[in-house]
């Protein structure tokens, strides 16, 4: 009985996805320090695939396009968290939430 309960608890936990509400705001929005921190994180973790200027390399798309910038901060955060494992984009959930929001702040700065 205990084993069955434990199994069901784990099963329930694996069914719960780690998403943020679509209207969640970036706590670092508009902060220049956060944009610079995000740029540093981008160089460390993203530039190898997306290019030093986020222009895209091979299968990794440019992050300067309208398709990226028309998405909400929460959607970008969620995409960084989950990735798209079947299409080669890794999950960056290993980075704390704060650092993923800083990367989102940096991506927003690319629009201008």
């Amino acid at each position: 009985m205990k084993r069955a309960t434990l199994f069901l608890a784990i099963l329930a936990a694996t069914c719960r996805t780690a998403t943020v509400p679509e209207q969640a705001a970036n706590p670092y929005a508009g902060q220049s320090e956060a944009v610079r921190a995000g740029a540093k994180l981008f160089r460390a973790h993203c530039a190898a695939c997306h290019g030093a200027s986020a222009e895209g390399i091979a299968d990794a798309p440019s992050l300067k396009t309208e398709k990226v910038h028309e998405r909400s901060d929460a959607a970008l955060f969620s995409f960084l968290t989950n990735g798209d494992l079947k299409r080669g984009m890794p999950s960056w959930s290993r980075l704390p939430d704060e650092r993923r929001w800083q990367i989102v702040a940096f991506l927003r700065s690319l629009r201008s």
Partner: protein, 279 residues
Amino acid sequence: MLRLSLISNLVLALIAALASAQESPYFVTYDHHMEEPGMLEVAVNPLFGVPKQGNRSIATYLELEYGAKGWWSTALYLDGQSTSRESGGFTGYRLENRFRLLMKEHWINPVFYVEFADVNGADKIAKEIVGFDGWRDLVEPVAESRHEKKREIETKLILSNNTRGWNFAGNLIAERHLNAAPWEFGYALATSRPLALAATASECRLCPENLTLGIELYGGLGEEGQITLSETSHYIAPTLAWSLPNGMTLRLSPGWGLTGNSNRAFVRFGVAYEGRLFR
């Protein structure tokens, strides 16, 4: 041993220029984070073993881990050891594959791990503790133990969670010699957290965001038909990972035995680089 060391140094030197790593501080426990697709991680992980009796030893393994897909990481390990007042040398290899079972991030993220190992009895890397593994395994004379062939299959169910900057991971381990010996079981539990969650705007080396502290607890659970904690060995090991801006990650973990069957201590070190293999 010398040959293994030379190969390790050569590969590290080749990869060093490409590096960009963000490593887990764990040595024994696996979390659900996979190698990024197309990236190769090269790591050297020496282990100093202090048994209750007998000669001390240094075991090391060279790890080559490749991100085949976003959901699949594959790795080759080359093991070696050197025991004081005895001999040293190459002790075998391991092939490992990890498969993420769910394509999205969940509250608990399961990963299936399968490994084939072809090592000899002198192998001392203690990458996991299973069954009734204990301090006597380390003091068996190398001249005898190296003639013992061990072909093993090992599976793990990895469960891992990230919450508010913390990672919590648990592994259930089942290992079996291919010569029809019983399944042996073990576990590994761990948690870790970076000292700072947000990054600073400037490049820094010895700053809290680059340091991750954690703790691991691992040990054996007996074998098929005899699942028990009695006569098994268990260890507790704080861990520290230091990620440098040039992409190198240094790791350190002193571990202490908790039961009469455990080794007195292990001290583990790790140096890792990560770079893109194909564009």
